[in-house]
């Protein structure tokens, strides 16, 4: 139990939170998006869709205050041996010739939450959830059992589609402390 608790706390420290240009951003040199089977698929010339969701909560597993979700298509240039990323939103944003670390940093940098949406009078926790495209996994906040959520669960075709899914949570933070650190 102690080991699990220790490893959990170590993982939680992977995510760095900062306030930049009055927006909350995260970075995580140890957050590994490009790993395992998705990376194999990329190196085989395929493309992989990553879904990143940044959530601010009242507590570690508390109420959601605000969140932002982005989808990114990554591919790996077989000749250049570099990654290419496209953010699937309007306007489209893309970058090419990136190293693995740069591609990952680019995705994380595209996630931000305005400081105005953060509570100024209380602490909050920041959660980063990342997964490769597939049916959406049951989110911690989606505890309601609805027909559509059931259909989503039952429609999962192949475990191969769910190759990566992880959550990092850090906190508690106070807005003023983050402002002072700038």
């Amino acid at each position: 139990m102690l080991f699990i608790a220790c490893s959990g706390s170590l993982i939680a420290q992977n995510l760095k939170v900062r306030l930049e240009a009055d927006r909350l951003r995260v970075s995580g040199p140890q957050v590994r998006l490009l790993t395992g089977r998705p990376l194999d698929r990329l190196r085989n010339g395929g493309s992989v869709i990553y879904v990143l969701e940044l959530t601010v909560r009242t507590e570690k597993a508390g109420r959601v205050l605000t969140k932002v979700k982005e989808r990114f298509t990554l591919s790996y240039d077989l000749w250049e041996e570099k990654f290419s990323v496209t953010r699937q939103a309007t306007p489209t944003r893309s970058a090419s010739n990136l190293s693995a670390a740069a591609a990952q940093a680019w995705c994380l940098d595209s996630l931000s939450i305005p400081a105005s949406q953060l509570p100024g009078d209380r602490t909050f926790w920041v959660e980063l959830e990342y997964q490769t495209e597939g049916p959406p996994a049951a989110s911690k906040s989606d505890s309601n059992l609805t027909l559509s959520s059931l259909i989503d669960i039952f429609s999962r075709r192949s475990p191969e589609e769910q190759q990566l899914h992880d959550i990092d949570v850090v906190g508690p933070f106070h807005l003023e402390d983050l402002r002072k650190k700038r």
């Binding site: 869709i49 077989l78 306007p91 090419s96 010739n97 475990p159």
Partner: protein
């Protein structure tokens, strides 16, 4: 390690010396005890810390995680900023100056956004993309603001950077092309000379897998071509393994009248060997609720890929429903209930090909009976099994799957068995899939001759057979004869089913029970989730007020 222990054990005594004042009130024996506990606690904590660090490091090693932190990435410097999709004359000097402010700065998405939206507002044109391209120097980039309608052809596959390359060649390696359909060969040929399209390549991979299964498996690789403008697509075909590892299975199922059952397995696999530890608490599969653990070792290539062996050991505690005990009292010819069941089952399997397997082996089970006095009895049986499974695709791209199993167990005095019986069980299943529609038909039959222990007896009315009935209402001690059939229609995740069957003892009268139901069912064969309502049909009438609710997953 020993030295470390000694060092750790000595140091706490000095710490305890400081506490000697506090311990003075204690007797000499108690002082020693306090000192000993104090040292032991510290040693334990240090050892625990050491173990945690070791575990952390070993987990990182096993799973390929390196402890070092990847380098921090600096944001690139903007070398130039350009606009596309807008006529040159519409870009005012002010806008150009605004764009030039970005040049020489480290790239900041918010700053780029600000400039992009200023231009958007000034020229009343919608921005469609902000792109970063490699600069002329390392660490430098060129930024391009794209305006106008987004490119129509930019779909998922165009976001793959390799789509700019031309397919030089498509190869099929490991099998003769004559084994592949003309249509698939045509599609492979069509790819040559076109832009690399991963979706099309994946479709061909799926076609090849369907056409060459079950004896072969296909994987896809995209590699560099002879020139920087080209890539090659290679489909590697390998012979499918003749034998696959047996899954004890992870499952969680619930039946509204029989409570929940679950099984968890932890496999450790290396090449052709697999060791599995599983725990189970199951009131679904048998008449009894059995809980305990099972261990198995399996090899799927014993000298030849046609031959494998497996040995399983299990130890269960058994619980019985009152309905079963009452029914047993009225059926003296059926052996009684037991408290514990421990057994070992070695089997040898020969695979003619990936579809057809034959197994032989033995099953040795020792049961602890409670009545009339605690005693042990053995059910030792020889086992023979034949399994056949195949799937194919017809000309209309519909999938068919056919599986058949036959299992025979014979317990004789020669095997030192206290129960003498033969048990025959057969199962046939056919599945037809066309787009979102699936039709499943299943049939089972079984017969036991002689006196078999309760775990061998057949039953109906659980989460997978005669859904809508409770096995304890239908046949609380099971039977030695079984017939069963099921028809199921699935559209996407929705299912409708009709089950019918009978379980009885030889010589007794019997009648067929029916059930209908509906629910949700996963579309994935590897992990089956279900959420089902079943309703019994009694005296020719559906009884909607007595539904059985079942849910769970097997994966």
């Amino acid at each position: 390690m020993v030295g470390k222990r000694r060092f750790s054990a000595l140091k706490p005594f000095t710490q305890c010396d400081r506490q000697s004042q506090a311990n003075r009130a204690l007797s000499p024996q108690n002082q020693c005890l306090v000192q000993w506990r104090c040292s032991c606690f510290t040693v334990r904590m240090r050892n625990l810390l050491f173990i945690i660090i070791c575990l952390k490091l070993s987990i990182a090693t096993v799973f390929g995680q390196t402890p070092e932190t990847p380098p921090q990435v600096d944001k690139p410097v903007i070398e130039s900023v350009d606009i596309s999709g807008v006529e040159e004359r519409r870009i005012t000097t002010e806008l150009r100056e605004r764009m030039q402010e970005l040049v020489g700065q480290r790239f900041d998405q918010l700053a780029a956004d600000e400039v992009a939206f200023e231009i958007q507002n000034a020229i009343s044109e919608r921005i469609s993309a902000i792109r970063q391209f490699e600069g002329t120097q390392p660490g430098h980039i060129k930024v391009v603001f794209e305006f106008g309608v987004p490119r129509i052809d930019e779909d998922e596959h165009d976001r793959n950077v390799n789509s700019r390359y031309t397919v030089e060649d498509v190869e099929l390696q490991g099998v003769s092309e004559s084994l592949v359909s003309d249509e698939t060969r045509r599609q492979m040929k069509d790819l040559v000379g076109s832009r690399m399209d991963d979706d099309r390549a994946e479709n061909i991979l799926r076609r090849l897998s369907r056409e060459l299964r079950p004896s072969r498996v296909v994987t896809k690789r995209v590699v560099r071509g002879a020139d920087r403008k080209y890539v090659r697509i290679i489909f590697d075909v390998e012979r499918a393994p003749y034998l696959n590892f047996t899954k004890l299975g992870n499952y969680f199922v619930g039946h509204s009248k029989q409570s929940v059952s679950l099984g968890v397995e932890v496999p450790i696999q290396k090449r052709n060997n697999r060791f599995t530890f599983g725990i189970v608490n199951d009131g679904d599969q048998l008449i009894e609720r059995f809980s305990g653990y099972r261990l198995s070792f399996e090899n799927i290539k014993a000298g030849t890929e046609h031959l494998g062996f497996r040995i399983e050991f299990h130890s269960y505690k058994d619980q019985w429903k009152e309905a079963t005990q009452i029914a047993l009292a009225a059926s003296p010819q059926v052996p009684g209930i037991y408290r514990k069941r421990t057994g070992v089952e070695p089997t040898l399997t020969f695979a003619f090909d990936p579809r057809l397997h034959i197994s032989i082996g033995a099953s040795v089970d020792e049961m602890q009976f409670q009545y009339p006095a605690i005693h042990y009895q053995n059910a030792n049986a020889g086992i023979a099994a034949v399994t056949f499974e195949t799937d194919w695709e017809d000309s209309g791209s519909n999938d068919h799957n056919l599986s058949a199993n036959y299992l025979a167990r014979a317990a004789t005095r020669n095997l030192d068995s206290d129960f003498i019986y033969t048990r025959h069980y057969g199962e046939l299943s056919y599945k037809f899939t066309t787009r979102n529609n699936q039709f499943v038909a299943t049939a089972m039959a079984g017969a036991i001759n002689g006196t078999a222990p309760l775990f061998e007896r057949f039953l109906l009315g659980n989460t997978s057979t005669l859904r809508g009935w409770n096995k304890y209402d239908l046949a609380p001690i099971g039977g030695d004869r079984l017939t069963y059939g099921s028809l199921e229609y699935r559209y996407s995740v929705f299912q409708l089913f009709y089950d019918a069957g009978s379980v009885w003892d030889k010589g007794n009268s019997h009648e067929t029970s029916h059930a209908v139901g509906f629910g949700l069912h996963s579309r994935d064969d590897d992990s089956q989730w279900f959420f089902t309502f079943g309703v019994p049909i009694r005296s020719g009438r559906i009884q909607p007020l007595k539904p059985v609710f079942m849910l769970g997953g097997r994966f």
